[in-house]
Symmetry: C2
Subunit: 145 residues, 2 copies
DNA sequence: GCTCATAGTTAGGTAGCCTAACATTTTCGA
DNA sequence: TCGAAAATGTTAGGCTACCTAACTATGAGC
């Protein structure tokens, strides 16, 4: 990596980190009204796709398995998920959405999407196109990490 | 807002929220090695620009004033910031960086920038340009919220 | 079959956040 | 100008989410 490239990459990295931080504050302000926390939303999002193990929930949330167990038990007590033994491996536990959980997730997700959409509405069409193009690139970053 | 526009905006909003969530996990994995937490980094970043009040730290971090006081006192005990009365308003307290605090912030910031830069290095030039163009747009979102 | 690795839970402790109550200073209207 | 209300922080007490360590139970391999 040449020196001039390095400087440009570092500058972009810094901007990226700063913007990400600001976006997190924005995101947090949208979460702060509701019943479901960001972590709960994430957990339900994963389970909405397909039942998954406790260890995968922990890995995806970036927390340890005991912490994930704790949170999942709370979701279970709230009637939003079920914990059932994995038929293919009796050690494992599969977390899956209940109907109530799916409804709660969809409602919460819709509310948040509507708020973000209201912000996006204030952008120009060009800006939205640029933003849309950037999202898969950010996902790529995540994937190569 | 027309219905078709609404659907497109909602779809973009959902992608945006998902990508943001993933980016947060990425960011968190980079923070998890060091001595300074994300919140501490943010606080030092603000104070690095200019001394600021406890209430502004709280507002920028999205936490309450007592919580900010708590964190700032810890930073003070670590010798990274000073708390001094605002000369223009005796109720207020100005948080400012010590030399040690500035050095710690710069070092931590550099480490994180280098890691992100290494990821950016793996992107193509076009992707980097798109990403760079999107950052100010995301900031705009934040500003209009 | 014995050993070791894997999946989760339980137990106990820490840190960060909250609200409520308080002290101090500033602002502003009667 | 003086007293009430607002603004700025701090203190006190409690809650929640996270952690590590220790444990149970199941699967995998020599």
């Amino acid at each position: 990596m040449s020196l001039s490239t390095d400087v440009r990459l570092l500058a972009l990295a810094q901007s990226f980190r700063t913007t990400l931080r600001h976006a997190v504050y924005l995101s947090r302000s949208m979460d702060s009204d509701g019943e479901l926390t960001t972590m709960q939303m994430s957990t339900l999002s994963m389970a909405a796709e397909e039942p998954l193990r406790v260890s995968r929930v922990a890995a995806n949330l970036g927390i340890r398995v005991p912490s994930a167990t704790e949170q999942i038990i709370k979701l279970e007590q709230a009637g939003l998920v079920l914990r059932q033994p994995d038929p293919t491996d009796s050690r494992a536990v599969l977390v899956q959405l209940t109907d109530k959980g799916r409804a709660a997730w969809e409602a919460a997700s819709r509310r948040r999407n509507e708020r973000v959409a209201a912000l996006l509405h204030q952008l120009g069409e060009d800006d939205r196109a640029t933003l849309a193009a950037a999202l898969p690139i950010i996902e790529k970053l995540n994937h190569t990490a």
